[in-house]
Amino acid sequence: MEECSIKAQDLTKQFGQLTAVDHVSFCVKPGEVYSLLGPNGAGKTTTIKMLATLLQPTAGEAWIKGHSILREPHMVRRAIGLVPQDLTADDELTGWENVVIQAKLYGFRGVEAERRAKEALDFMGLLEAAQRRVSTYSGGMRRRLEVAMSLVHSPEVLFLDEPTLGLDVQSRRHLWGLIEELRRQGKTILLTTHYMEEAEALADRVAIIDHGRIVAEGSPEELKSRIKGETIHVRLRDPGQTIALAEKLSKELGVDAEAKGDTVTVRVKSSAETLPGLVQVVSGMPVVEIRIVKPNLEEVFLELTGRGLRDEEFDVFKFRVMARRVRR
């Protein structure tokens, strides 16, 4: 059990008739970045809330660094840092005040609390803005402040729930860099996201979650290799010849080839193996372009669930920021 920093065993949560999380089991090793990847409503946040002792599971059990979330919630809370999907900082206070209060809630006093607050703010690049009220922060700064607040007690295990939701590309890259740095420091990180690129960029291992169940798990490479190989797109100058080419490729190379418009799409196990033969077949034809598409997690997800990841993307984060402004 100690081999896992985070271990979930048949974790289940029901809300009335709805089963939000359905017998989810996984193990995150120390120092690993593990990502729960799935669309909105797949059960990612509910899973994190249970692990962070915010919700009681209906069934199942989980351990953080060997501490049971059911029997030793207090020990679990000491060991973890949570960056929730909601913005939790108090926007009537300054960034500094927020982080210092956070340090004090973990039992650090006076100078030590301030030293930790300074370190966390510095690490997240917020030292300059520390004396400003949070209500003046940009979306990216608010996110970074959330992370700073979660780091102030140096937790070994970090939960990041959709950390870059709604951020612009630049802020997202910035945050990715910081998460990468946290991994280098040896933190165990559980990250939920519905951004494919995010899971691919950050995670050592990915669990694809849909309708509350883990449907696949593995390193991004392993998951991608589940897609039967790669696709080669051959584009011709003359669309009239594509059907003939598709038939020829099927016959001579024994591959699955399909003509559409001016392009022939060939599904192969490995482009490296097929390409030499393919080049021979197409030689003499008016080829404009040969493009090889390696599988990505998006395709994996599509293959496993029959749906795209961002079918119905609604920008929850932007909506929340807006709602907060209205309420103020």
Partner: protein, 276 residues
């Protein structure tokens, strides 16, 4: 205890930091006193100008007014009641902050940290009591400036006792509203409850009018209304109006507040256990 103090300091910081709210909450007591107190000066109604036999009536009226109100100045009677009613309203406002902490996600932060759950509840109550302490002092100072007549030979102990009574009442009231807030999903629920509870509680007490003058059914309600007992005790200490039974009033008030505080804490902790 450490966590409670950290959270209490946050409450105070937020209150003082919200300049407009802070200033308004300071001005409110003044307006209350000016409007309620000075516009309703009962005694002046009986102030007869005719000489002779009018003096006799005047004396009878004075005696009666003194008997009922414990002072010839209705403003003094009302202002001492207002101290108590003001605590009632401030207690209700205390709940609103809890709803906002929940809605704005701050509660999640607290719940995921290793602080005792009770400290969240206790800090909120203490924050409310702190605000009430400060505002009561302001209110009392304003009352003095407007002509409040304290009893002869009033001591610091009397002032402290009156303050303690107000805080004891507030402990119970703040617990009711805090508990409601822990269960409520939006602040409108709280405002609705405030309208539902506060005005009847105020008018069925001796805060505004002596209960001896009430119809019997109303007197029965007033007799168990904690506002009545708090107002009676405060008046005893500030203006020297006799109280029926000091220990009875104090016991009732203490029982009310302690039971509500403990029950409120138990219920609130239960709501925190399964927060969504």
């Amino acid at each position: 205890m450490g966590a409670t103090l950290v959270l209490l300091r946050r409450e105070i910081k937020k209150w003082v930091g919200r300049r407009p709210v802070f200033v308004m909450s300071m001005i409110t007591p003044l307006i209350w006193l000016a409007l309620f107190g000075k516009s309703l000066n009962l005694y002046s109604m009986f102030n007869l100008e005719q000489p002779g036999f009018a003096e006799l009536i005047q004396r009878i009226v004075e005696q009666r007014v003194l008997e009922l109100f414990g002072t010839l100045d209705y403003f003094t009677y009302l202002a001492s009641g207002m101290l108590v009613v003001f605590a009632l309203f401030q207690s209700a406002f205390g709940g609103v902050g809890i709803v906002f902490d929940k809605r704005l996600g701050y509660m999640t932060r607290l719940l995921v940290s290793p602080i005792p759950r009770a400290s969240i509840f206790i800090a909120k109550i203490m924050g409310t009591l702190f605000r009430i302490s400060v505002l009561s002092v302001v209110l009392f100072a304003a009352a003095l400036a407007l002509g409040f007549q304290v009893k002869q030979g009033i001591t610091l102990l009397d002032l402290a006792a009156a303050g303690a009574v107000i805080l004891l009442l507030s402990l119970g009231l703040a617990s009711i509203y805090a508990t409601m807030a822990f269960y409520a999903n939006n602040h409108e629920v709280l405002f609705a409850a405030m309208n539902l509870i506060n005005l009847p509680l105020m008018f069925t007490s001796s805060a505004i009018f002596p209960r001896e003058q009430m119809p019997s059914w109303l007197r029965a309600i007033a007799a168990v209304n904690p506002i009545t007992h708090a107002a009676d005790l405060v008046r005893y200490h500030l203006i020297g109006r006799p109280v029926n039974s000091y220990m009875h009033s104090l016991g009732l008030l203490a029982a009310f507040s302690l039971i509500l505080f403990l029950a409120g804490m138990a219920l609130s902790l239960r709501s925190l256990k399964e927060s969504r």
